[in-house]
């Protein structure tokens, strides 16, 4: 399925993501990585450590409601893949971000902004493998 090119909304959304990353660094001294936040919730170092992560996650979940208040509907979530693909993809993402120590937000935004060689390497690796996977799924295997 085709999707509409939305440069302005995407740029503004990206700027908000960057702003949140900067605010979390200024307030709590941490990078804003979804993987790290979730991993810390699954096995917190202390109860205080758990609470701020839970507050941050609760805020993240509120985001679509703020969008709804402004736009009149939830953001579009069109899933062009099957449930088994969601399960397999989710499992691989969980394994990969654990071994790779981060995902699009931690490496791709915060790490690139810090010019971290590790994050630049990780981002190149996952962008390339995502593109290769999408090509194989859509055009390679019987496509």
């Amino acid at each position: 399925m085709t999707t509409e090119f939305t440069p302005l909304a995407s740029l503004a959304g990206g700027a908000l993501i960057g702003l949140a990353a900067v605010a979390l660094m200024a307030a709590r001294g941490r990078v804003f990585g979804a993987t790290g936040i979730l991993a810390g919730l699954l096995s917190p170092a202390s109860s205080g450590d758990w609470v701020w992560r839970a507050a941050l996650l609760a805020g993240m979940l509120t985001g679509p409601w703020v969008y709804m208040a402004a736009a009149g509907s939830f953001p579009a979530i069109d899933v062009p893949v099957s449930t088994p693909a969601l399960l397999l993809g989710g499992l691989l993402v969980g394994l990969g971000v654990s071994y790779g120590s981060g995902c699009t937000s931690g490496h791709g935004v915060c790490g690139l902004a810090r010019l971290s060689p590790r994050s630049i390497t990780a981002t190149l690796s996952f962008m390339a493998s995502t593109a290769a996977t999408v090509y194989l799924v859509r055009h390679g295997i019987g496509g």
Partner: protein
């Protein structure tokens, strides 16, 4: 106060994700589909986020300490190894199959969309499986059964 501010920072992130299209697998997958229904929007998400964070971090990190915590906890490792590259590659395969990444899926949970719930459950299972595998291999390494 601290928790309220932390919560609001999460709200800003979740709103940004919602507006950007990162929570929409159709849009994410089309970004990577150069030879099909290509949608370059995600380059604008990354560009906007990295530009703001790049300049914002310089100001934030110029202070002696964060507002609410005793010190900055910025990842310090500089090791580039097979684990980093391979793990990230596996992440990309999963992202290419499902179209959701963790930062896109977590805010989208707030909509109650069942597909997001399914993906996130599998994501958590994968993270827990990785943790078990790491513990197992650390134990085996300790016992000398496999080489480090």
């Amino acid at each position: 106060m601290r928790l309220t501010v932390t919560y609001l920072i999460g709200v800003v992130f979740g709103t940004g994700i919602s507006l950007s299209g990162m929570a929409n697998p159709a849009k994410v997958l089309n970004f990577f589909d150069f030879f099909g229904s290509w949608d370059p929007s995600l380059a604008f998400v990354m560009g906007g986020a990295v530009a703001v964070a790049f300049f914002g971090y310089r100001r934030a990190l110029a202070r002696p300490a964060p507002l609410f915590d005793p010190h900055f906890q910025v990842p310090a490792s500089r090791v580039i190894d097979a684990r980093l590259i391979g793990g990230s590659a596996v992440f990309g395969i999963g992202w290419g199959i499902a179209g959701f990444c963790p930062g896109g899926a977590l805010p989208a949970l707030g909509t109650g969309n069942p597909d997001v719930l399914i993906f996130t459950a599998a994501l958590v299972a994968g993270m827990l499986a990785a943790r078990t595998l790491m513990r197992l291999s650390a134990n085996l390494t300790l016992k000398g059964l496999i080489r480090a």
